[in-house]
Amino acid sequence: MKHVHTIVIGGGPAGLAAAISAHKQGVSVLLIERESKLGGILKQCIHDGFGLDRFKERLTGPEYAKRFIDELDALSIDVLLSTTVLHIAKEKEGYCLDVVNADGVARYSCKSLVLSTGCRERTSRQVFIHGQRPSGVYTAGSAQYFMNILGMLPTRRCVILGSGDIGLIMARRLSLEGAQVLGVYEAKPTPSGLTRNLLQCLEDYNIPLHLSHTVIKVYGDSRLEGVEISKVDENMHPIPGTSFRVDCDALILSVGLIPENELAESLSISLDPKTKGPFVNQYFMTEKEGCFICGNALHVNDLVDHVSYCATKAGAYAAQYENKKHYDQPVQVEGNFGYFIPQRIRYPLGEDPIACYFRVNREMKKAKFSLIVNDQIIYTKVFHHVKPPEMEFLELKQDLFKGAKTISVKMEELL
């Protein structure tokens, strides 16, 4: 059994940043990645727009990943590629991992663990699309892999369900490659993707966006031949009598991402039903002492820059981790919040400002964020144009939380 101080699981943007940051704290680090190359999903995200926050440049996914991979190489951080974690066990001090790769099965132990396992896409079955099971039903990510990595066209004429960013980006990519995108259909009354993607990916290519519509059925018994589309009511249930058929050879789904937390769950770490990621404190530490989490496994981020920022913090905290006497205070959430991270504050407090991530439930032109400690509003901040597709970020000084018996955050509309 080999021992390292910090093990990072997952070599996507979160894992890369976490491993580099942990290493810089002067501890031994091992990064474990199941694929043969580092970079995670960025490898196939060949469009640009990454890194505007972090590098003040518009990089493509592979270029953004390369910045971190180069740094990781320069620091000579240990990496295990094509390696899958089979089990994790919590030991009295730290964790024990069984991994497998082409060399066989091996066991590692570590003092602290960073889970940067990313997310996966929701599937057609999970959104309950019916009909036979023809080929040509792809999640946007699979279609993207076929196109950007394997160089094949997943469709010549398709419908996209869901206006999430990956769906919008695929609409543009497919149009560029000569495929016809007949329309993007979204069950919600508002688009899920970023405004800049609506403009640059749909409007530029004259692709119509149909809100309050969903696909209810696929046609075809070998290759997909068409889809049945229906209007939906405010609860997103199909309205009888409003459906129509659109002939196409593929249905591309961009219906949401789900944090991938099977490893966390195997450690009996409970998940926040709102983020679908573990509950964390301001150090990105889960309920299990010494087990940290970052990136899309914690919550689905809108921008990779946020992932890198949060992972850099989580990596450093994992490296610094000591099991000291402590207690945690929950953060109560009021008003228009989809979710709020961190869900707990750990005492004694540290020095660093606390990185908070949240999303709102509904769009607001102007909104006031308040931090309420012991029933006193002790901090407020005004946000403009908040909407569910865009994640909001703010940093709060740890001092604000001093001596808190109750902590809550509130989001209210300013008219």
Partner: protein, 577 residues
């Protein structure tokens, strides 16, 4: 009852119900129902009413279904002369569990055997789209063929699955009753099953005892009918294993081969016309499932009818595994549940996932495996009565299968009535998977006996009953796993993250004795893409492996059926598409 008075009685009955719409003609062996209707359920109802219990008569449906053009059987686009002018001792039509198991049992003899199927793989219809329960046979009426074979078949499973290296677990079946006052009746029923039907593991246990083992059963349950012998198996896994073992022992399997017509002379099938040439058989076995009647018609030996019945099953995320360790269902007397299924249930499959269903719906479509939102909702509502914690949000996949029921709701296992070299294995529905090992033995013996009238049939001295399956690394200990990876590093490289399937396992599937290069074939053999992401991550990787292994361009790799290509060629490199 003579033919004439039976015919009169049935006609009178139909006239009372639907004056002037239907009529019955009774022949030597069939009750032929004629007339017209726009309503398929009415057609099924009329034919069901014409069934004469405990007789040798089968109901033949000749009712014209108005406003519906009969759909042609889907056949492969590809044609070739690969099997043209070939002669076989036995041709088996349909490579489901029946056809594959019979092929394997026949391969114990020195015979030329061809198992053919129109689909791209074996077990593409009912044999893959069912719940995989190995039934104890507690619910079957005495005197039926189903009942005759179910206990025998069930007992053969340990041996057969060991020989063929197919996972099989006896999980036990709990049928909960919600009405306490029924207990004496069910006790008497259990006794009768034990003594008269040979289902000797049947017993009644208290709800308390059942809750101890199955804590998530509904607290409405008052007592439970319990059978230890109930088991689960992968239905397509077993069919594939049977087929591979048949191939290993000399049988040929022709996939993508559809029977288009037959030449019948003097009560004998002379030749079979397929899209891959004209084949000359000595004996034909009809294992064509929902198309058994169509094959019988081509062979001029149609004396029964199939009425397809759809059933949908749901697969839950592994997170819902707490629901049950076995096979559980509930019964409430007086509720008009469909009588042709025990109403479905919730079961733990061999893959350790939870399967819920099936329901039962009459349909005229033989190959429409569509699912409908109502199916999901009714199944969830129905089975929540057994396990109240069952939740729709845990559903990760669902599929529909179509049962090949006769109106008598029993098997047809007999030689042709008019065509002499044809053996019918028809009307095989639940518990067809359970009975297959036993039926295959009897059918193979009947066929060999018949052949021996004309020729010498020796045993196949080289017959090897052992087939080795693909190793399942995820179920192994770390030591075993390590040893295997040391021998073959590909077993250490993961391709399917959700189900933990390695590159080595996928290559094993691609290199197995029965070569099938579709994405679904790989999925059925070693499960990549069966997990929660449903192939989102691994489908492109497996497609690339198929393309590399068989040296076929990626745009020609198919998902499952002919024409189900995954991707198109791009314009890159100046190519045109």
């Amino acid at each position: 009852m003579n033919v004439h008075s039976l015919e009169k009685r049935l006609n009178r009955m139909l006239y009372k119900l639907y004056p002037g719409q239907f009529s019955v003609q009774v022949t030597d062996d069939s009750i032929v129902v004629k007339g017209f209707s726009e309503d398929w359920n009415q057609i099924v109802d009329v034919c069901q009413r014409c069934v004469v219990k405990n007789s040798s008569y089968h109901v033949v449906n000749d009712i014209k279904f108005l406003n519906h053009e009969p759909k042609q059987m889907l056949v492969p686009h590809k044609t070739s002369q690969q099997y043209d002018q070939k002669h076989y001792d036995v041709v088996i039509i349909g490579a489901g569990i029946s056809g594959a198991s019979i092929a394997r049992e026949l391969s114990r003899f020195d015979l030329s055997i061809l198992l053919l199927d129109k689909e791209t793989d074996v077990a593409m219809h009912a044999s893959s789209k069912n719940d995989g329960e190995v039934h104890p046979g507690v619910d079957l009426p005495k005197g039926s063929l189903k009942q005759k074979y179910v206990v025998r078949g069930n007992r053969m499973y340990d041996r057969i699955c060991k020989e063929l290296d197919v996972p099989f677990y006896r999980r036990g079946q709990y049928v909960g009753f919600t009405q306490g006052w029924l207990r004496p009746v069910v006790e008497a029923f259990a006794l009768q099953r034990r003594v008269e039907c040979g289902v000797d593991d049947t017993r009644v246990i208290s709800a308390k005892e059942a809750f101890k083992r199955e804590p998530n059963l509904s607290k409405d349950i008052q007592f439970v009918l319990y059978n230890t012998s109930a088991g689960c198996v992968s239905p397509y896994g077993l069919t594939i294993a049977y087929a591979e073992n048949a191939v290993m022992n000399g049988a040929e399997i022709a996939l993508n081969t559809a029977v288009l017509d037959m030449k019948v002379q003097k009560g004998k099938i002379v030749s079979i016309q397929t899209n891959q040439g004209i084949i000359y058989p000595k004996i034909v076995i009809n294992c064509a499932g929902v198309f058994a009647e169509d094959i019988a018609r081509m062979a001029k030996d149609r004396f029964y009818s199939i009425h397809p019945r759809r059933g949908t099953d749901l697969i839950l995320d592994k997170k819902a595994n707490f629901l049950t360790k076995s096979i559980v269902s509930t019964k409430t007397l007086g509720q008009q549940a469909n009588q042709h299924t025990k109403g479905g249930g919730i079961m733990r499959t061999v893959e350790d996932t939870i399967l819920v269903g099936p329901n039962a719906q009459e349909t005229y479509e033989k190959e429409d495996f569509s699912t409908y939102p109502e199916d999901i909702d009714t199944i969830i509502a129905r089975q929540s009565r057994t396990c109240p914690k069952l939740a729709k949000k845990d559903v990760i996949a669902y599929y529909t299968g179509i049962r090949a029921a006769t109106f008598e709701e029993d098997y047809i296992l007999e030689w042709g009535h008019h065509t002499k070299n044809l053996y019918h294995v028809a009307g095989i529905q639940s518990p067809g998977l359970t009975t297959a090992p036993a039926v295959a033995v009897d059918v193979s013996h009947a066929v060999v006996e018949r052949l021996r009238i004309y020729q010498e049939v020796k045993e196949n001295k080289a017959f090897d009953p052992i087939r080795k399956g693909i190793p399942m690394l995820r179920t192994m200990s770390l030591q075993e796993r390590n040893d295997l990876v040391r021998k073959n590093p590909d077993y250490g490289i993961m391709v399917c993250r959700c189900e933990e399937i390695s590159k080595g396992e996928i290559l094993d599937a691609l290199r197995s004795p029965l070569k099938v290069h579709t994405l679904d074939a790989v999925k059925r053999r070693c499960r990549p893409g069966m997990g929660r992401c449903q192939g989102g991550f691994c489908a492109p990787l497996v497609a690339k492996m198929i393309s590399d292994e068989y040296q076929i361009p990626l745009e020609e790799v198919i998902k499952s059926t002919d024409g189900s290509n995954l991707v198109y060629k791009s314009k890159k490199g100046g190519a045109s598409y």
